[in-house]
């Protein structure tokens, strides 16, 4: 009953079911009720990693190489553990930059370079073609086998006949039609395909169920559990080594290399990037996906070894290709329903991969290769023509559909040329090594700002060349399309250039060999060339955006709008609308305006609103990719098209302005400080001026008083010659005294002026202070005797040497002693001179038991012309300069002068001199 018609109908029904799921998913998404916005669907969609390679190929590989298939799934598990750190950052960046594909991602990182994007696209397409052709091969051989049901007929090893008799060709066409229906029904700004993701998740369930079902059937229905299979195998010494590491073709190096490339494959295969990054709804889903997806891998691999070994035992030497065990075992047992389930499972594994991979690749080809080229050509032909076209959406879709068809036809071509001569896994691994070439540029670029365009181009280019030389070209040679001598003897017969043993590296299998050559060279060139070359402004800008993706809050403010010139908001909206449709564009811009608090009309200039043009650019980039979006935006600027130099200028200018204003700020600050100082100095000057005026008026007043009395008494003496001799003598005495006072005053004023002007000739010498104080007390003894005041000296018995101007210090002491005498009561007064030696200074104190000084006078006593003007009764009057002069002299010796006094109890004057 299981014939071609039944199979065809069932497959058609399955495809219809898939399509309705996709349709349902799209409908729900339009209504805003996403069915894929949960971590479970997300995890299942990532399981698109498991393709026909896993479904059929793993068993085939295990039948030959034991557990050698496992690194392909252990690597992704290791990587999944790091998703929370690495993948979350990639998703964050992609969301912000509106990344549409892996080529767009790498290109954007390296300065939105069209060259990098183009190179990545070419590597991706050429690298993934073998992988897609693998799926074609798997589906077509499954059909071939089931077609002969219940007979077990292996499909012929080489394809003969015209291609229109070939099942694979029609499968390729069918898949192209299917992918076009799935992936290009409409164009979304985020390049997301909700319906497709829902369908892929469904396919992941189907293939898991089918595979586990056949695994359980073989293990428990055909054998008595896994122990039965394992014990039968270990009994056969030939097959027993399949249970150990000895079965691996390249040993531990191969195991490690496969782990490494599958770690990068899970992130950087274009279709994985599509489902994990582009189709991601919420990066919180990673929390569950990072263990759910590895769990899925574990489940689907659990029965691979039992299946493979079971198949070996069942078909012992019967000429059945191990790659078909999954299908042929149930067929051989006549289990029709299970055979059908396996066929559907295999088809779902293959179609899932083909659909996602082709959509991802076609997005790249149309956005990064076709669009920029076409846009540039049309721009050159008719500079304004582009904007006249009303709706570019259809044009984009046409490009996309064309790309899908081209890619699938190329995959079919590869299948026809090469595919038949290889096992499934070997074909897939070739693609893995190609995808691994993206890892250095992405990972290094995400964490090191120094990585630049030149480095990325060098690394990717070299990695791709090595891949081509060591894997792709030999494959063509082996299939007879290139001379086989180049593989066996090396290029031009040079043994060192053998593609499978480059520079004498002979001990490895082909895949491991290619990995160990391409990845280190790629990484080395990326880093060294980056270090040796300059990054331009856009590269630096993008490097910051990528590396600092998690610091967006602050980084956002510093972003520079690279578009210069004037474009109206309405023109910008019109341009965006050609890609997104009028409604979406207007909505998006209104939202932006609302968020940034501004309104716009038809004539508003876009540049005055920060990031508005870049926002528009990103909207377009969401549909046609970053490189093309730049070309589109540049059409708005016509003659003002941006080139790198312009950006450099803008950034230079900005940094110059920043620097200039910084300098200005600094200068202003310095001026402020200076002004403050000036103000203080001015105040001081004003005070000094006031003091000078005061001084002059006081001095003239003090001079006039004795002069007046001298003049008046002289006039009396002159006008009255017959004055009694007694009176004449009295008057003359007054005149003499006043003259003395006058000359003393003038001397003091001169002294003070000299001290103030610091023009005294100081005669500093080692002097015995004790002797000095004795001399001073002798000098005033006359005065003290007259007033009957007791003067006592408390001086050390030894010499106390100080470096001082002897005469001046005597002057100070005499001044203080005579002051003390003045304020003591005649008869009862007692004055004491004391010299004490302190740690760092010598202190002379002169104490009296006089009337004391009121507290309010104590502060100003050392000012000029200050006199305690109460109760002067009969005491000799001073000039009021004595203490000021003393202060000047002591301070010149770096000493201090001060007093302690209590009214009516006496005063104590101190002056200190530093010890030398």
């Amino acid at each position: 009953m299981l014939n071609t018609t039944v199979v065809a109908v069932i497959i058609a029904l399955y495809m219809a079911a898939l399509f309705s799921i996709a349709h349902f998913g799209d409908k729900r998404a339009e209504l805003g009720h996403s069915i894929i916005s949960n971590p479970y669907v997300y995890s299942l969609s990532i399981a698109v990693y498991c393709t026909a390679w896993t479904f059929f190929g793993s068993v085939g590989y295990a039948a030959k190489n034991g557990l050698g298939f496992l690194p392909i799934y252990l690597g992704p598990t290791l990587m999944a553990a790091l998703w929370w750190f690495v993948l979350r950052k990639i998703i964050r960046i992609s969301r912000k930059q509106r990344i549409t594909s892996i080529a767009d991602f790498i290109g954007s990182r390296y300065g939105k370079s069209a060259l990098v994007t183009g190179l990545v696209t070419i590597i991706a397409v050429i690298g993934i073609l073998p992988y897609i052709s693998l799926q074609l091969k798997a589906i077509s051989s499954s059909f071939e086998i089931v077609k002969h049901y219940p007979l077990l007929v292996m499909p012929s090893a080489s394809v003969s006949g015209e291609f229109w008799h070939d099942t694979a060709f029609y499968i390729a066409l069918l898949l192209a039609a299917f992918t076009i229906l799935f992936g290009t029904r409409h164009i979304d700004v985020t390049e997301r395909h909700e319906g497709m993701v829902a369908a892929i998740a469904f396919e992941s369930i189907v293939k898991l169920v089918a595979f586990v079902a056949v695994g359980l059937y073989v293990t428990f229905a055909l054998f008595n559990g896994p122990t039965d299979i394992f014990s039968q195998i270990s009994a056969d010494p030939d097959k027993a080594k399949l249970l150990t590491m000895d079965a691996l073709p390249g040993g531990y190096a191969n195991w490690f290399a496969l782990t490494l490339i599958s770690m990068s494959a899970i992130l950087f295969l274009p279709r994985q990037f599509q489902v994990t990054v582009v189709e991601n709804v919420d990066d919180e889903h990673l929390r569950k996906a990072s263990w759910l997806f590895p769990l899925y891998l574990l489940l689907i691999n659990l029965f691979v070894l039992p299946l493979a070994l079971g198949g070996l035992l069942l078909f012992d030497g019967a000429g059945v290709d191990p790659d078909t065990f999954v299908l042929t075992i149930p067929m051989a047992q006549d289990a029709q329903l299970l055979t059908l389930l396996v066929l559907i499972g295999g088809v779902s594994a293959a179609t899932g991969m083909v659909i996602v991979a082709t959509i991802a690749l076609s997005t790249m080809v149309s956005n990064e290769l076709l669009m920029p080229a076409l846009l540039r050509r049309r721009l050159a032909q008719q500079p304004d023509g582009l904007l006249l076209e009303s709706d570019l959406t259809r044009w984009v879709l046409r490009n996309r559909r064309l790309s899908i068809l081209i890619i699938l036809m190329l995959a079919y071509l590869y299948f026809r040329l090469i595919g038949e001569s290889y096992a499934l896994v070997s074909i897939g691994l070739v693609s893995f090594v190609a995808a691994a070439q993206f890892a250095p540029a992405i990972i290094v670029g995400m964490y090191w700002k120094g990585a630049n365009r030149a480095g990325a181009l060098a690394g990717l280019g070299a990695g791709f060349l090595i891949w081509t030389y060591t894997l792709l070209l030999p494959a063509f040679a082996k299939s007879g399309w290139l001379p086989i001598e180049f593989v066996n003897d090396g290029l031009f017969g040079i043994a060192l250039l053998k593609p499978y043993a480059l520079f004498g590296l002979t001990d490895l299998d082909h895949i491991t060999h290619a990995v160990f050559w391409s990845l280190p060279v790629n990484l080395f060139l990326l880093i060294t060339v980056s270090l040796r070359s300059e990054s331009n402004a856009i590269e630096q800008l993008q490097a910051n955006e990528f590396v600092d993706a998690f610091k967006d809050a602050t980084a956002d403010k510093k972003r520079v709008d690279v578009w210069q010139g004037s474009v109206t908001v309405s023109a910008l909206i019109a341009l965006v609308a050609r890609f997104t449709g009028e409604k979406v564009a207007t909505e998006k811009f209104n939202l932006f305006a609302k968020k940034h608090n501004f309104t716009f009309d038809d004539k508003t200039i876009a540049q005055s609103h920060t990031h508005l043009v870049s926002y528009g650019e990103r909207l377009i980039a969401g549909i046609i990719g970053a490189a093309s979006a730049r070309v589109m935006i540049s059409t708005l600027y016509k003659a003002q098209t941006l080139n790198i130099e312009d950006v450099m200028d803008i950034i230079d200018e900005t940094s110059q302005v920043v620097e200039y204003s910084h300098k200005l700020e600094e200068k202003t600050h310095r001026h402020e400080v200076a002004a403050e100082k000036l103000r203080a100095a001015n105040l001081q000057l004003q005070e000094l001026d006031r003091l000078k005026d005061e001084f002059v008026s006081t001095v003239s007043h003090e001079l006039r008083t004795p002069l007046t009395s001298i003049r008046s008494f002289s006039e009396i003496l002159l006008s009255e010659p017959d004055l009694p001799a007694e009176q004449r003598r009295e008057f003359t005495e007054i005149i003499v005294n006043e003259t003395h006072r006058l000359s003393r005053l003038i001397n003091d004023v001169l002294d003070l002026a000299k001290i103030d002007a610091d023009s005294i000739q100081w005669d500093i010498q080692d002097t015995d202070l004790v002797a000095l104080l004795r001399e001073a007390s002798t000098a005033v003894s006359q005065l003290y005797n007259e007033r009957k005041i007791k003067l006592s000296l408390k001086l050390p018995s030894k010499q106390v040497i100080a470096k001082i101007d002897r005469d001046r210090i005597i002057q100070v002491t005499i001044n203080l002693l005579s002051n003390a005498a003045k304020f003591c009561e005649q008869g009862t007064g007692e004055v004491t001179i004391e010299l004490t030696t302190k740690k760092q200074s010598l202190v002379v104190s002169i104490s009296d038991n006089g009337c004391g000084i009121e507290p309010e006078f104590q502060g100003v006593l050392f000012n000029k012309f200050q006199q305690v003007d109460h109760a002067q009764d009969g005491r000799p009057k001073g000039t009021g300069l004595g203490l000021a002069i003393s202060k000047g002299i002591v301070e010149h010796h770096k000493g201090k002068i001060w007093l302690e006094s209590t009214p009516n109890k006496g005063s104590k004057f101190y002056f200190s001199l530093p010890k030398w």
């Binding site: 252990l74 750190f85 270990s234 990673l286």
Partner: protein, 73 residues
Amino acid sequence: MKTNQSLTFLLPFATATVMLLLNYPWLSIYSSSTLFFGIPPLYLYLFVLWLSFIITIWLLVDQQTNVVDDSDA
């Protein structure tokens, strides 16, 4: 685990450890065709290690949602 800090940052270390455990010479210890309770030791080792690692990921990523996450830096 009485800490309020997210333990997610431990994951890279766990990954490095498992990466070592999945290589020579660890694998060579189990590379034997003598069955262990009817199961090949290498098969058993790989799948048990795999499952434990999945549980570790679950503990360190999915079970850390209610604590402060500072893994952004």
